[in-house]
Structures are given as structure tokens and as C-alpha cells.
């Protein structure tokens, strides 16, 4: 069953030098109980898409969409009331997402008392249970600690525990492993997958790392310059990427390249959000670019399960 359905979402900031298009046109369809990856390089609008879902886009942002539905409700009007109740955020960079002057206990309790009428003692028990559920040892002691006294991995688990404390069934996890080293990151991903299975959660997993998609995602959407350029089952995207950008992302992975060989990093940069795009957004960096790519927006190809935007008919090189 579809929990979240978005068609043609855009987030635009009007400015004196023309509109800043943080998100140009994003389609998302997320099934209940799944982990859906949202992958793309820095600045392509991943966080902004999440913020739009939460109704927390910065002041001055114009949000538009053809379809913007969560569990049958229109997000344009319901985002604020769903926020923290049904939809919660696991914020990018846990060190910055925790308030430096409040204890972990206080920050957990603030979430719990917002969402339940339990007495203080019961909320404490609940906080301890949630910290335990996220794999933190010695939760009682932890409640008295300040964020700076915790390691990055512990901070990330606390942030996850906070999101669970809201009781929300849809979590937006914004690069939950970027600030962590590889082993700790893998543990956090395993934890998230376990929580999804145990609690019937749905997760939008924002990442710039194909490894994360490979590790936990059921389906994924590839974002480029504020556009969703490919969407499909994670396995299909990982084994047979159709959009040249998805293919390039995959080729940039360390273990996709024989040892000692230079990483196939993608040359160039994404177009700036102020730059209007006439043809294909990826044309300037595409290894298989054709003249038509600069002029005509690419058509949607593939089926309903796996679709992509490209002038090339068939498999990417």
C-alpha cells in the first residue's frame, strides 16, 4: 500500500536574480513498511525534499506539487499537524541535531511529553526502553549526559531514539551514516532495518552513498539537480542502472573499480539551482551525451516499477 505519493514537487525561492530552484521536479512513491532510498550528490535537493514533507521548508520557500499525499491526507495543509506525530526526522549530522546545553534525558523527555500524557516516571521508563532499543548501553547513565560527552555513533542512536519517541510511523532519515565511520555506520543501518521490521515503520533514506542503498533500501529514487531522474527497485538500480547519472554514481563506488585504479568520479558539477535547464540536466556531464540532450527534456522511459528520464533508448553504457 502506498503511504507517500508525490508528483512534480518543486521548492522555489524567489530572489532578485531569478528563482532559486532547490527542488525542480521530484516524484516519489513510497510503500508502507519499506525503506526507500533518495540518492544524489551534495546540493541536489535531498534535504529540501524532506523539509517540504515536514512542512519545515525555510521562510520564503514556495512549495508546489501536482500530488502531495501522505496516507490519504494532503501534505500542503496537513504537514504541520502530521509532523512529529506521524512523520519524524532523523536529522543530518547528529552532533548538530542535538541541543548542546540540554541533557540527553531532557531531550528525550521533551519529545515524549509532547506526544503522550504519561507521568514523568513512566516517561523515564519509556526513554530508557527507547535508548535500549537503539542499542545504547547504560541508558540510565546516558540520560544525565550532554551530547558532547557522547561519541558520534551514540549521538546518532540518540537521534534515532528521539524519532522513535514521537511514535511516528514514517521516518525521514537524512544521511544517518555520513558523520560516522564505516563500521559504526553499518551498525546504525542494521539497527534501522531491524526497527523497520519490528515496528512496521516506513523510512525515506536520504543518502549520497550507493552502498547505503545496497545495504538497506527496498526501492530508490535517484535525484539530480532537483529532479528525480530514475526510480525503481534498489536491486535493479544497483545491477542495471538505466540513467547515465545512476550508472556514474555506481561506478564511483570504491569496490566497483579494480584495485589501484582511479575512481571513476564524475567530472564537473551539478547545475546551480539558479540555472534554468532546457534539455537534460545531466547533459553537460554525461558520457553518452547527444546533441538532442541539450535541447529537449528527456522522455520518461521504462515501466511503472522502474522508470527513468533519458533520451537514450536502452541500457546506459
Amino acid at each position: 500500500m502506498t503511504l507517500l505519493e508525490i508528483k512534480a514537487l518543486s521548492v522555489t525561492f524567489p530572489s532578485n536574480t531569478g528563482p532559486v530552484q532547490a527542488v525542480r521536479r521530484v516524484d516519489l512513491q513510497i510503500e508502507r513498511g519499506s525503506i526507500h532510498g533518495l540518492i544524489g550528490e551534495s546540493g541536489c535537493g535531498k534535504t529540501m525534499t524532506g523539509m517540504a514533507l515536514l512542512g519545515l521548508a525555510p521562510q520564503g520557500a514556495r512549495i508546489a506539487a501536482d500530488v502531495f499525499r501522505f496516507d490519504g491526507m494532503d501534505l500542503t495543509t496537513h504537514a504541520a499537524s502530521l509532523r512529529g506525530r506521524r512523520i519524524a526526522l532523523i536529522s543530518q549530522d547528529p552532533a548538530a541535531a542535538l541541543n548542546p546545553v540540554l541533557t540527553i534525558g531532557r531531550q528525550m523527555d521533551d519529545v515524549l511529553r509532547t506526544h503522550s500524557a504519561q507521568p514523568k516516571a513512566e516517561r523515564r521508563v519509556a526513554a530508557v526502553a527507547l535508548l535500549t532499543a537503539t542499542g545504547l548501553a547504560g541508558p540510565e547513565l546516558l540520560l544525565k549526559r550532554y551530547p558532547h560527552q557522547l561519541s558520534g555513533g551514540m549521538q546518532q542512536r540518540v537521534v534515532i531514539a528521539q524519532a522513535l519517541a514521537t511514535g511516528a510511523d514514517f521516518l525521514i532519515a537524512d544521511e544517518p551514516t555520513t558523520a560516522l565511520d564505516v563500521t559504526v555506520g553499518a551498525q546504525v543501518l542494521a539497527l534501522l532495518r531491524k526497527l523497520v521490521a519490528e515496528r512496521g515503520l516506513t523510512v525515506l533514506m536520504i543518502t549520497h552513498d550507493m552502498d547505503v542503498v545496497a545495504a538497506v533500501c527496498d526501492r530508490a529514487t535517484v535525484l539530480y539537480a532537483g529532479l528525480s531522474v530514475e526510480e525503481g527497485p534498489a536491486r535493479a538500480i544497483l545491477t542495471h542502472p538505466r540513467h547515465p547519472y545512476a550508472a556514474a554514481l555506481l561506478a564511483a563506488l570504491p569496490d566497483a573499480v579494480p584495485h589501484g585504479q582511479r575512481l571513476a568520479a564524475i567530472e564537473g558539477r551539478i547545475p546551480s539551482p539558479t540555472q534554468p535547464i532546457t534539455g537534460c540536466a545531466f547533459a553537460l556531464r554525461c558520457p553518452s551525451v547527444m546533441p538532442v540532450c541539450h535541447e529537449v527534456p528527456p522522455p520518461r522511459r521504462g515501466g511503472s516499477d522502474h522508470g527513468w528520464l533519458c533520451h537514450l533508448d536502452g541500457q546506459a553504457p
Binding site: G84, R85, S91, L102, D110, T114, T166
Partner: protein
Amino acid sequence: MDLARYILRRALLSAFVVMGVTFLVFVVAQVVPSDPAALYAGPRPNAEQIEKARVTLNLDAPLPERFARFAVSMATGDFGVSYKSRRLISQDLRVYLPATLELAVSSTLLALLIGIPAGVATAARQGSWGDRLGSLGSILAVAMPTFFFAMLLQMIFASWLGILPLSGRLSREISISDPLPFITGFNLIDAMLAGRPQVFVDALWHLILPALTLAAYPAGIAMRLTRSAMIDILSRRHITAARALGLPERRILYGHALRNAVGPALTMIGLSFAFALTGSVLVEIIFAWPGLGRYVSDSILSKDFPVIAAATLVVTVCYVLMNLVIDLTQAVVDPRVALK
């Protein structure tokens, strides 16, 4: 523990400050051009009287000994005798200091209670009409001369509306016909100790206008400091994170953001407390408030050095104590302060 160590460090530093000021006061006493013995000996003294005063005041002993005696007597609260009035300075201070402290503490509290919430409220509605109005108010509060603001308040609340008394610490009916027993010298506290609620209310009513006058400047600055710090903090990721967890905006503003943002305003209000102790002469005159400011400025005019020395030290100690309270508050509000 970090906090205990931090407080100990601050307390030691404060002790050094007090010692340093004691030394300075003593040194200044040695270089003031007027001869203390001549002043002490009374009007038109002859040489013999001056010599006698010199012995009484112990002016012939070697300097280190004189400093030691000076420091010891200051520490024991023996401030000596006023050259001019011949009264014990400690007795004068018993009267003037509580009056001044009552005013300084209540104006400091007012500055906190007005300036900080106003700063939060305007930061939360940045760019709105309320924000602009608040900024205008804070500029007025800071820019308006104290005496003018005092007279404005008197005109509105005492003369026109007649809801607050014009001046003094207590109504005449009370202070003359049925005076409070002198216990602490703080009218509010003495009234409570004496179990006389009407007197408490009367003292409070008298306190409002002078306290408001003194609070205007620090409140205005505290508001601006709080506002700009809040605007900075409100753009931080942990605030967005708190919103994304559904926390109510009120708790985000006061429970989360303000704790990060209140530091500069607290420091500033601590400084203004020191100023209110002796810098409130005009306010004391306008509101007929028998405080330290007038006592000291009178003694300066008559070169009454023992009074100046005593007042300087007492003010230093009050200020240092206030600063300790502020430091402690900062450390409790923001645990990182104690770690630096």
C-alpha cells in the same frame, strides 16, 4: 566535578579582585592631595590638633603596616569615622546600602524579566510589526536620559493617573507615625518579618517607578542582545530538529533556544547591576531615595576619604558577589561554560 571546580576558580578570582581593589584604594589614599589629618582635625585646626589627629589616624606608621591595618579593619567591617559627620561609616552604610541594594536588585530583576522575554518574542517574529515596535522601544529605553524617563514616569503614574507614589521609600503615614522596626534595612523584608502586609505593599509600590527607571537601560540592551543571539540560534540545526520532532514552539523558544542565547544578556545585566549601586545618583535624587549614590557623591565633594574608601570596597564586594551569581547561572544554563 566540573561545576564545583569552576565555581571555586571563579571564587578565587573574585577574592583576588577584592584584594586588588583594597590595595588600590589604599594607594590612592596616599596620593590624594588633601591631608587627611587636617581634614580629620576639624575646621581651621592648629598644628597641635593636626599632630594629634595624625597619631589617632596612625599616619606615622610605616606604609606596609598601615596597609595591613587598613586591610584588616576593612575586612572586619570597621570602616572608621567620616571626617565630615564624625559618624561611624558602618552605621551610615547599614542604612544606605540596603536602600540601594533593594533598588539595584529589583531593577536588575525587572531588566531580566522585561528585556529577555521581549528579546525572545521579537526574535520569534523577526521582521513583523511587533518586532519593529519592540526595536523602537529598546532604542528609546537605551537612548532616553534617565532623569527624563524618571520624570516622565512620575508625571504619568503619580501625577496624572495617581496610582503610584511620587517618591520616597514609604508613605509618610507609615514612616512617621508607625515606623517599621529596623531589622535588615530592606523595607520589603522588614515588613514581612514584622508581619505587616500593608507596609510590604506600600514599600513595593514605592519601589516600582525608581526600579523601572533604572531598569530601562539594561532592559533595552538585554533585549537587543537576546534578540540577535536568538536569531542566530533559531537557525541552528538542532532547532529544526526539535521542530521536526513536533515540539511546541513555546518550548523550543524558551526551553531550547533561549538557554543557548541568554549568555550575553546575563553578562550585560550583571555589569549594569554594578552601575546601579553607585551610578544611580540622579534617580535617588529624583525619587528621594536615601541610597549609596548620594552618600558617596556628597563625600566626594567634601573629600571625605574614609567614606569613599568604604563605599568603593562595599560596592566591589557586592559586584563581585553578583558576578559570581551570574557565572553560576551561566554554568547551570549552559554546561559548556564550566568546561572552558
